[in-house]
Subunit: 387 residues, 2 copies
């Protein structure tokens, strides 16, 4: 019965997440942070009851996928397109500022060109899961600033993939491989474009007439399939899941997709956030160099996204624009993958990897704490503008 | 992005299960068989799109756990206790007949004592998942025969564990290790007893006052926790999940537990049944000896459980008693684990393992096909008795 240990680990994660969610709600703090800290508590850093491993990592990834699939279900394409210009600007500026900032800071503290490029690249990609959860928790997913964040996160992921391809190509062959990058760009633009085109078609598709067991069953397969397709191109699976959800957003009420998907998310998403905590190697961060450089890099990462979001979404008013920037701040797995690629290419050492780890941890913790007071402030601004 | 291939595999499994469920419903055949055959279709035997692996196996196990957790939620302890005597008899007889039958047949076709004992042991444990799904699909979980099957499945699992411990002890040390077996019996009886005792207490527990995020979150943790506890004793995780669900059955309406758990089951349980199909190594069965002996062993396995069920549940009338026997017929993972233990102890060879595999496959396929007409017949009998 090989599954026993994983079942026990999931039990610890669920229980700890439940208790921490209770505490954080009581303390009027973001519940999602409680779930992350639940993972720190039961993980190797403290109690040692739960360890990283393929099975738990995959369950966590499924949790993020269902979270973004659910968010996609609640997002209509036309609402995203309505803020498309802002989302595009936010994504481009939010990629450019942290990349340049990270690169220049790397040079300044004595990195070679290549490690500095990797540092910049690791600051590029927003990990929108934690922001999506906070927006969902506060019930503001339908607001313009939330739509901008979601749209920008999709574009940001494509841009991040391109930057990574360039830097990785330089690291491996010393030059920019235009062919490979063009292929990547075409593939990812085609994927997003296909999802957009399909969305009007799926909205009119009578799912009950498809040769499937149930519309819900088809919807779940579609969500997982889009996540798989995104992942096989190199995009984040959650971006695929989000697009898959958006495909179905026009028919979500007709087929009652929301409640079941929300239930699956409710089971799996806390595992995702708790595993963020489990992965947090606190010991790796406990060096003065890592702490000092990590703090500066975190600041660059946050300010870069805030500036990008602010400038890109200024049409929505100062408060919304600022909220967009903060919402784009969390970095996640992609930042770590970039640093790990640099590590395996010999361009980045363990200490530089730890700096990125620090940045990922603190941008992730920062956003929910900052969004919690920011969102009511932005909401008040939106109301003021209407009156 | 290591998760891409697993996401793709899940997509294939979900989609194939959906299409096969559609076909089997159209053909008025058991949907669950369609799901199993979906796994055969996309698995190594045919298309080769999906392969066995730790991640998918674990997701499948979670699917079985949520299936039985859901069934437990719909089962009140007092309904099981009301048919407790029958359930106990069904379990004891349904363990004894196939064990003796398998042992004697093994001797007859020339097995040594030990391999024959392993063959008998592999026929012991009912795998109640597929029967539970059929009962759920037909909406008859509340009927006395369904209660007897569920109660008997729990006792059957404890008995099966005991038989395995005896035979495994004999294989390893040549003698029956009374101490180890006594410990096992005490542990498993204590576990089931504890669940029974707790159930009145949990029914009165105000879950909304516990320091947890939500009653549902607590319920999910409890279900997984009970499955983990059962697994760590050596019982089937699904037995723990069933008892966990039963613990909460009195409060399922108060806290609206059913719909979310049903949604999670709806996502994961098809993966469980499809993975049964993926694991089906058709090639291993394609030998005349395996086919001939496999057919006889399958017959012993089915008739042994039918006889046990029939004699044990005769108080409920002939039709219900027969249905109980058929419902107990499916064997699963435990049978394969027994054969694999025999294999690793050198007491069983590859061909004998394949015979058990054959038996597991065909008892699993047999039950849904047989139950589909049997249940209306038993229902008609129950109505007739009332009039």
């Amino acid at each position: 019965m090989h599954g026993a240990e994983h079942l026990l680990e999931i039990f610890y994660l669920l229980l700890a997440a439940q208790v921490m969610a209770f505490l954080f709600r009581r303390l009027n703090q973001p519940v999602v942070i409680g779930e992350v800290l639940a993972g720190v508590l039961v993980g190797p850093a403290l109690l040692g009851l739960v360890h990283e491993g393929e099975v738990l990592e995959f369950l966590a990834e499924l949790g993020a996928i269902f979270l973004l699939f659910m968010v996609g279900l609640e997002t209509r394409l036309k609402d995203i397109l309505a803020v498309g210009k802002e989302a595009f600007l936010v994504a481009v500026l939010g990629v450019a500022f942290p990349f340049v900032g990270g690169y220049l800071y790397g040079l300044q503290i004595g990195f070679q060109t290549l490690p500095a490029l990797f540092l910049g690249t690791s600051l590029v990609a927003t990990s929108v899961g934690i922001t999506a959860r906070v927006l969902q928790e506060l019930g503001v997913l339908s607001r313009p600033y939330a739509r901008i964040i979601l749209g920008a996160a999709v574009i940001d992921d494509v841009l991040g993939l391109m930057v990574l391809a360039v830097v990785n190509g330089v690291a491996k062959t010393g030059q920019v491989e235009m062919g490979a990058i063009l292929k990547l760009v075409l593939l990812s633009v085609a994927f997003v474009g296909l999802a957009v085109l399909l969305s009007t078609w799926v909205a009119r598709l009578p799912l009950e007439r498809l040769p499937v067991g149930s519309p819900l069953g088809f919807a779940l397969a579609l969500g997982v399939g889009m996540a798989a397709l995104a992942a096989s191109i190199g995009l984040a699976p959650i971006v695929g899941a989000f697009l898959g959800g958006m495909l179905l957003s026009e028919v979500r009420e007709k087929y009652r997709l929301e409640e079941p998907v929300f239930a699956i998310e409710g089971f799996l998403a806390p595992l995702f956030f708790a595993m963020v905590g489990v992965r947090l190697e606190l010991a790796a961060l406990a060096s003065p160099v890592v702490l000092a450089a990590g703090a500066v890099v975190t600041l660059i990462a946050i300010l870069g996204k805030i500036l990008g979001g602010f400038l890109g979404a200024l049409t929505q008013g100062v408060r919304s624009a600022f909220t967009v920037g903060v919402g784009m701040a969390p970095r996640g797995e992609v930042g770590l993958i970039v640093a790990a690629l640099g590590l395996s290419a010999g361009a980045v050492n363990e200490e530089e990897y730890a700096i990125v780890l620090f940045m990922v941890a603190f941008t992730t913790l920062f956003a929910p704490f900052a969004l919690k007071p920011l969102i009511p402030w932005a909401e008040a601004g939106l109301k003021g503008a209407k009156e």
